[in-house]
Assembly symmetry: C2
């Protein structure tokens, strides 16, 4: 165990991979390791960036281009891909590993896919723990990506320091985003596939929505960037905007975001624990609920007391 | 309170509406009322039917036609519409009330819309409580419908006795349903908009999938029905198939379904309670989590003990 910690602190990528596996599998040694890395996590200046947007918006291609851009600056990068829509697979997303193939030989790039099996609504508690490992390891950038939609978008924003919302001119993306209530989670808007017709209109729609919202002189107006991911156009500007948003947050803003992340992690842990407890010896309780002898709430209190 | 119970048992629809409001608002009198109605719930022969399928499949139109069909048999019908995708609205779905307008004058039809605000993933605990009220009130049929997708489909199947999965020939519905893992929740398949090209192919695809699955002589092969909802074609056949499925279930099968419903209700109640507890006095805990002084799991155990 102490040799794992030593190798981890020395920057051995295999030690990182092994640590993640321990955390993912719920091994107690994972928790011990996380505790041991407290100082490294505190002192980390890692930028945790959430990539959100509807399927097909081109998030993966953009992330890929962002990796290349970070690497040209000499910065080490990790990508964490989460598939919350798949309680069944219980495994990693092969596609993402293949997709990232071109960085495979580059020891400055670390890609990990995980399924958040059974996590209600989106990301799992383990996602945050894995994120903590990546921060402690010393990456300059961590990109967090999900293949899911809906709740997972909101979850990403709870967990990331900087949230990039990727939209495209096609298919009423902005309208969908408004309806889903995810416009307000964006720290940076990216209008991807900006060579398609409608890109300027989409920018105007986003800007109009921003101006409608409540704001004062301290409000961060999320910049609206245009990119063509497949041609790697507009990518350094995203990194620049992330830097500006970090400066805007300052240490107190960052602190607020980290408390938000802790809140997410706590809620996820509570639900996991509650679900775990509910699994055991409840057959008798279920019969009593279904016969109306006890209300579900009374049964819940009974379960939580055990 | 006892006058509400008396009016409820006498079949006063206003008493039902008031009881639902009490249950929805979390009023303790709602729980008392539910307990008082234990015998009525036990003796109810109400058929609880879940209507699932992608948005645009025509669920609402079908439900509307099913109401008419039930009414022509003299059966009293309730429809419960749930909007799990909307934690923001926190209100009823006006559209559904308008949609059901043509049954408005009919005292044998009861329509209620509810938003399951904040319920993770889909239906809320209160949905099941409201369902219990409708069963106790003596409706012959209760149709349960959500406007959501994904998790809410699975939730509906957990809560309903009979699940109708509505598909259309358009747009690879079957493939989507396979991918989402919801084919297996169907007790009855309805190929709606059967006048569109591709209806027969869709039927063959569903049948092929059924035959691939594990089955023996006790397996219920979900019948595959064709309908044109807008022309009310094929509707009585759905009611007939529901009756056959009820006979197939028998009392032991129905018992199993009811235990499944209780499990859903218990899990929802546990999560609600856990979330409630997590709200209070956690600012200090959050700071300790974010500084790595305590793991999220340790914090969760602390919260659950309070």
């Amino acid at each position: 165990m102490s040799s794992l910690l030593t190798a981890f602190l020395a920057g051995d990528v295999r030690a990182l991979a092994r640590a993640i596996t321990l955390v993912e599998s719920g091994d107690a040694r994972g928790e011990v390791l996380l505790s041991s890395l407290r100082a490294e996590r505190q002192n980390s200046s890692c930028l945790v960036i959430g990539m959100t947007g509807a399927p097909g918006a081109g998030k993966s291609t953009l992330t890929d281009a962002l990796i290349t851009s970070c690497r040209s600056l000499g910065a080490r990068v990790a990508v964490l891909c989460v598939d919350p829509s798949s309680p069944f697979s219980g495994g990693a997303i092969l596609g993402d590993r293949i997709r990232m193939g071109k960085h495979y030989q580059d020891s400055g790039v670390f890609v990990r896919s995980m399924a958040s099996r059974g996590a209600l609504g989106g990301l799992a508690k383990t996602t945050v723990s894995v994120l903590s490992l990546l921060e402690a390891f010393g990456f300059a950038y961590v990109f967090l990506e999900t293949v899911g939609v809906g709740q997972s978008e909101v979850d990403i924003a709870s967990v990331a320091d900087h949230t990039v919302l990727v939209l495209t001119p096609a298919g009423g993306d902005a309208v969908q985003a408004f309806k889903a209530g995810i416009m307000e989670i964006a720290d940076i808007f990216v209008v991807n596939k900006a060579d398609l017709p409608g890109a300027d209109r989409l920018m105007r729609e986003i800007r109009a929505a921003q101006e409608l919202g409540a704001h004062d002189e301290h409000t961060w107006f999320a910049p609206i960037l245009q990119t063509i991911g497949s041609q790697a156009q507009g990518i350094p500007e995203i990194l620049e905007a992330i830097g500006q948003h970090r400066a805007h947050l300052g240490s107190s803003g960052l602190q607020t975001r980290r408390l938000e992340r802790a809140r997410f992690e706590l809620n996820a842990a509570i639900q996991e624990e509650a679900r775990e407890r509910a699994k055991h010896g409840q057959q008798n309780l279920l019969a009593r609920i279904s016969q109306g002898q006890i209300t579900a709430r009374e049964a819940a209190l009974e379960v939580l007391q055990t």
